[in-house]
Amino acid sequence: MASLLSVGDTLPELENLTDQQRDWVLHSEALWREAHAIAAANPGVDPGDVYHALRCLELSPSQRLGRGLTRVRTRPHAG
C-alpha cells in the first residue's frame, strides 16, 4: 500500500506488466481506496482488515470457508 501511495497517481511500472497483472494492481488499489474509506467511516476498524474482507467477499462461500479452515481434509473429495 505504501509503495502504491508513494508514487502518486501515476504508476510508470504498470507499463512493464501484463494486462492481467495490470488489472490486478488497479483492482487492488481500488479495493485499498474503498477499504480506507470504510475504515474512516468506522473508527477503530483497520483498513488492512477491511481490504482482506473485501477480497474475501469476491470469493464463493465455499472458497471463503476453504481458505480459513486450518485443518486440511483428512480424506480428499472424490467427486
Binding site: 474503498e34 477499504a35 474509506a37 470504510i38 475504515a39 467511516a41 468506522n42 477503530g44 476498524v45 483497520d46 482488515d49 477491511v50 482482506h52 474482507a53 473485501l54 477480497r55 474475501c56 467477499l57 464463493s60 462461500p61 465455499s62 472458497q63 471463503r64 470457508l65 476453504g66 481458505r67 480459513g68 479452515l69 486450518t70 485443518r71 481434509r73 483428512t74 480424506r75 480428499p76 473429495h77 472424490a78 467427486g79
Partner: protein
C-alpha cells in the same frame, strides 16, 4: 471448476441432516468465514436447536460416521473418518433462542449443499458474550468484515 471444501463425509452429513429435517446452524468462525471474514478456524461448528439422538445417529451413519450423546467428560459429538472437523454446539453465548436465530439465518450453498448460517453481526454478539481471550482477539477482524459487508450492502 470450483474447489470443494467439504470432505465427502461432511457433505454427506449435511445432506443427511437436511433430508432428515434436522435443524442446525453453522455458527462461530465457520459462519464468520462464510460471511467474508478473512480469519481462520479449525472446526465447523453446528448448533442444534434440539438434540434428536436417533436422527443424528442416522445422519452420521449415512456419512459413514458415528454420533455419541456423550459420556463422562465427552460432550455429544459427531465423529468418524472425514468428520473430525465437525463440532456439535448445544448452547451459544449471547444469542436468542435457536428458533429465533434460525429464523433470521442466512442461506448459503456450500459445495452444492444448502446450509443456514448465523449472520456475522450475530457471530460478533456471541463472541463478545463468550468473553474468552481467543474470541476477543478475533473481534477486530470480524468488525472489519462487517463494515465491508455493510459498505457493499451485503447486509
Amino acid at each position: 471448476m470450483f474447489e470443494l471444501v467439504l470432505t465427502q463425509a461432511e457433505r454427506a452429513l449435511l445432506e443427511a441432516l437436511n433430508a432428515l429435517g434436522v435443524q442446525y446452524l453453522i455458527v462461530g468462525m465457520g459462519a464468520a468465514l462464510l460471511e467474508g471474514t478473512p480469519g481462520t478456524t479449525q472446526d465447523i461448528d453446528l448448533w442444534f436447536g434440539r438434540i434428536d439422538a436417533d436422527r443424528l445417529r442416522e445422519a452420521a451413519a449415512r456419512a459413514g460416521g458415528l454420533y455419541t450423546p456423550g459420556f463422562g467428560l465427552q460432550p455429544p459429538a459427531l465423529g468418524g473418518e472425514g468428520l473430525d472437523r465437525v463440532d456439535v454446539v448445544l448452547t451459544a453465548s449471547g444469542l436468542e433462542s435457536f428458533e429465533s436465530e434460525f429464523a433470521t439465518a442466512r442461506a448459503y450453498d456450500l459445495d452444492g449443499v444448502p446450509v443456514k448460517v448465523l449472520p456475522l453481526e450475530r457471530v460478533i454478539v456471541s463472541k463478545r458474550a463468550a468473553q474468552r481471550p481467543k474470541d476477543a482477539a478475533q473481534i477486530p477482524m470480524l468488525e472489519a468484515a462487517l463494515a465491508a459487508r455493510k459498505a457493499r450492502k451485503e447486509d
